[in-house]
């Protein structure tokens, strides 16, 4: 087929568009690359002027991020030579490792709360979405709108009573409390997205399964669930990204045991002023999973961020 079309842009147009977009993309990328690079700089290189593009890579930032250190006397330093490469880095600054930092703990909290709430919201969301998609639920549209509207509320508007509520039932600053909270926040997204995905699975499959003697329940988990697997997976990743990035509730409702990484990373400071490489290392470790997911998810991106309000 000769594919000449008047709406097809010319080669020159394409070239100009490509050039402009790639310039914008590179400007977008620059802050991110700079942060990743700063994580691998030594303390001195990170505050060099003019900013250093070529530098000798160092893991100082990462070592500082994961350990706490104390200054020791000269005698002590001489009596206890460093055993490992990371002890050497710390030793060179006249310090010894006193123990692990709280970053690992906070990161673990992010993981527990992120995955816990993701599992719950996808589980509950799948059930509800299936019911909304397949059964004549009374007041269906109103219920669906109600579910969506819970997401429009500013976190601060409900944070005060949630704070009081959690304090009353002993859920404040616990993993369970944060998991429940993030599950509730994510449910609207999860129900709306999954309903869209399940709507697209032809009903004939289930009907065939029912005729073969499956129960409704069996038809649901043996036929519908496998068909919806991609949809469920991308919904899960969106929920995880949200729980992973959330800050307002985390900073207002947690203080110690259940605090996630976003409120913690900004508090990373060194012995003398801000330790930029350690902060950059923390940010890099924290952002990297999301960047990977974004690349994997790009096809579902639009639906995920708009609750399916815009179909691509």
């Amino acid at each position: 087929m000769s594919s000449y079309s008047i709406t097809e842009p010319s080669a020159k147009q394409k070239w100009i568009a490509g050039a402009l977009v790639s310039i914008y993309a590179l400007i977008t990328l620059m802050p991110l690359l700079w942060i990743i690079a700063t994580g691998f700089k030594s303390g001195a290189d990170s505050i060099a002027y003019p900013p250093k593009i070529a530098f000798e890579p160092s893991l100082e930032g990462y070592v500082n991020l994961f350990t706490t250190q104390t200054r020791q006397t000269q005698d002590y330093m001489e009596a206890n030579p460093p055993q490992t490469w990371y002890e050497q880095i710390v030793h060179a600054k006249g310090m010894v490792i006193a123990g692990p930092s709280r970053f690992g703990e906070r990161f673990l909290n992010s993981t527990i709360i992120g995955f816990g709430s993701t599992f719950l919201s996808v589980f509950l969301g799948t059930l509800a979405a299936y019911a909304f998609s397949r059964y004549p639920v009374p007041l269906k549209d109103d219920l669906l709108f109600f579910i969506l509207s819970t997401r429009m509320m500013p976190p601060i508007a409900v944070a005060i009573p949630i704070f009081l509520m959690f304090r009353a039932v002993g859920l404040s600053d616990t993993h369970a409390g944060m998991i429940l909270l993030y599950t509730a926040v994510n449910l609207s997204l999860s129900v709306w997205l999954l309903k869209g995905f399940i709507d697209e699975i032809p009903r004939e499959y289930e009907e065939a399964a029912l005729i073969d003697g499956y129960t409704r329940f069996q038809a649901f988990y043996k036929v519908v669930l496998p068909q919806a697997a991609t949809g469920i997976a991308s919904t899960a990743i969106f929920c995880l990204i949200f729980a992973w990035n959330e800050y307002a509730f985390a900073v207002l409702l947690t203080s110690g045991t259940a605090q996630t990484a976003p409120p913690f990373i900004p508090t990373i400071i060194g012995v003398a002023g801000q330790d930029w490489p350690a902060m950059a290392a923390g940010a890099t470790i924290f952002l990297l999973p999301v960047m990977v997911f974004t690349i994997l998810l790009r096809r579902h991106l639009l639906r995920g961020i708009t609750f399916g309000a815009v179909r691509k």
């Binding site: 709406t7 842009p9 147009q13 394409k14 490509g18 402009l20 977009v21 914008y24 993309a25 977008t28 990328l29 802050p31 991110l32 942060i35 060099a48 002027y49 900013p51 509800a128 019911a131 397949r134 219920l143 109600f146 819970t150 429009m152 509320m153 500013p154 601060i156 508007a157 005060i160 009573p161 949630i162 704070f163 509520m165 926040v185 449910l187 609207s188 003697g213 499956y214 129960t215 409704r216 992973w244 990035n245 800050y247 307002a248 900073v251 976003p262 990373i265 900004p266 801000q274 902060m279 950059a280 940010a283 999301v290 960047m291 974004t294 790009r298 639009l302 961020i305 708009t306 815009v310």
Partner: protein, 315 residues
Amino acid sequence: MVKGVIERTADMTPVAVARKIRGLSDRAIAWIFITPTIMLLLAINIFPLFWTIWLSFTNYRANRPNAEVKWIGLRNYERILTDSDIWLTMQATAHFLVWTLVLQVLIGFALAWLINRKFKGNDLWTTIIVLPMMLSPAVVGNFWTFLYQPQIGLFNYVIAFFTQSDPTSFSMIGDVDLAPWSIIIVDTWMWTPFVMLICLAGLRSIPDYIYEAAECDRATKWRQFWTITVPMVLPFLMLAVLFRGIENFKMFDLVVQLTGGGPGSTTELTSINLKREAFEKWRTGYSSAYAIILFVTVFGLASIYVKALNKVKER
């Protein structure tokens, strides 16, 4: 076992049999599936909201749980609406909202329009452009404070390089006039891709034959752009503005980490101000009223806007 049951009830339709076996009607299954979701939302969203409304009529302070709670009627609302500081934060919020929306709409639409040329490698560039909006705003705000450092930051260095000035001569987050712009720039960096994606969906929804017809009528490219492209994308663009508007009205995490509301209170947006009242000054009743006022404002503006949006869609 299932087979045996089917044989015994061979005269019934298979689907009816399947229903019978389980003993649960479709309706029961539907309710079992939906109830947990509704319950959780009622407990963690609706109940707290009504509690906030109740608290807003009292003088309760959460840091003094044993003090007597007095019902003070509309006094909290009265105090907020006559407080001149709150009008300043409203102004700061409006300034932030207007500029971020204008910049994001212009750049986002332009990018979508370019990407729609389908040049080589546009998938890769699009993915890169989209990255910032998936990141944690608090962490992003934090590392932009590093980029904005006058002595060592990349931002000042690049600006100074292109304008041949001294990078230490200005401080984005320390200067009263520049601080609002420091958050506008980061917000635009993060959220322009969102507007871009939605515009792209709009552009892709325009069928080619409309342009072909216009071409037959010898409409100029410029005219086609204004009479076809823009009106067809407008409903999508308005939807993007609605989402961004709501989100930016409650903007919190990014600004807390970037400027913390300062210097002075030049970047003290409403939600930051609210957090200060609620969790630093512990004026719970007062800040509940504040939260309700913000909530009603967002909902009011959003519903007026949605009406306008529906009108545009109908055309």
